[in-house]
Amino acid sequence: MNNINFYSSFSDALSHMFDFDIPGEIYSSLIVMLLICLLSFVIYFKFKHADPLEERPHGFVLILSSAVSYVRNFTIELMGKKWEGFAGYVLALFLYVFLAFTFSLTGLPSPATYLAVPLSLGLCTFVLIHVTAMKANKWKYFNRFFDPFPPYIPFFFPINLLSMWSPLLSLSLRLFGNALSGYVLMTIIYAFFGQISSTIFAFIQSGVNQVFLAPFVTPFLHLYFDLFSGGIQTLVFVMLTMIFVSQEDPDTSEEEMLILKKPEPEGN
């Protein structure tokens, strides 16, 4: 691959300015981000003009406020009261991963089938895990690399150094593998029904006769491979992120403190 070119003149260089080799998935990802931005602006203005004295919110506002409170309760339930501010990131992650996964329903390539996108999402989680651990443990953070033994016996150091990357790999490859397997299976099924259709409707002009069977079969499969799988994988991704991040902070939450502070049974 020789991408370095020397252009003879300025206009020549200008005409080659948009010759980037950017795959379509990145454009899909940009479209998803744009959709989320638009949605957040719409939400902002809807909520700004919503009447707080109205007895019952309805329509858009009702759905959104219940979604936000659901995500907040979910976060508090899983991570403890201290992490209430994390709910914003969780909601953004929910929206982006779900929309990116189900974007293949529009016919454009889904961003989740391009490894860079799940890998960068996993990298966000990875950075969050380590920043949280550093904040919580200060200098004792580095003890994790020598774990079962004290730091002056670096016996498990290589193993711990390798296992450091496992959350990143498992999170990103899980998302990528699910999206890619759905995409590959759907492509195979489309090719198969196109083939059958072209043999049955051979009397119609070739090229047109491939499209008669697939639309009656594939919607159910799209329901499974895109919507169901996407929803489950979104939930798994978000839950694992929350669990990984919250387990780095060893402080117990209030409910656990209440349980721990129970008076001991009398006697003895």
């Binding site: 490859l173 397997s181 489950i232």
Partner: protein, 70 residues
């Protein structure tokens, strides 16, 4: 040779299927014994299945890599 490698890689799906059957059978046991827990058990079961499916998806990923890249 690549096709043989892909076929061996996909055999990892067997273990995943066994694990998934374990998950579902135990979840059904729990549901039959305690029908009030049905909805809670179902959601955890689907989550566990999704986590378990990951194994077979890694196998599929490696098979695809063997076929198209290796």
């Amino acid at each position: 040779m690549n096709y043989i490698a892909a076929a061996i890689a996909v055999l990892g799906g067997m273990a995943c299927a066994y694990g998934e059957s374990k998950i579902v059978s135990h979840a059904l046991d729990g549901m039959a014994r305690n029908p009030e827990m049905y909805s809670k058990l179902r959601s955890s079961m689907i989550l566990g299945c999704a986590l378990d499916e990951t194994t077979s998806i890694y196998a599929l990923l490696i098979a695809i890599l063997c076929l198209f890249i290796g």
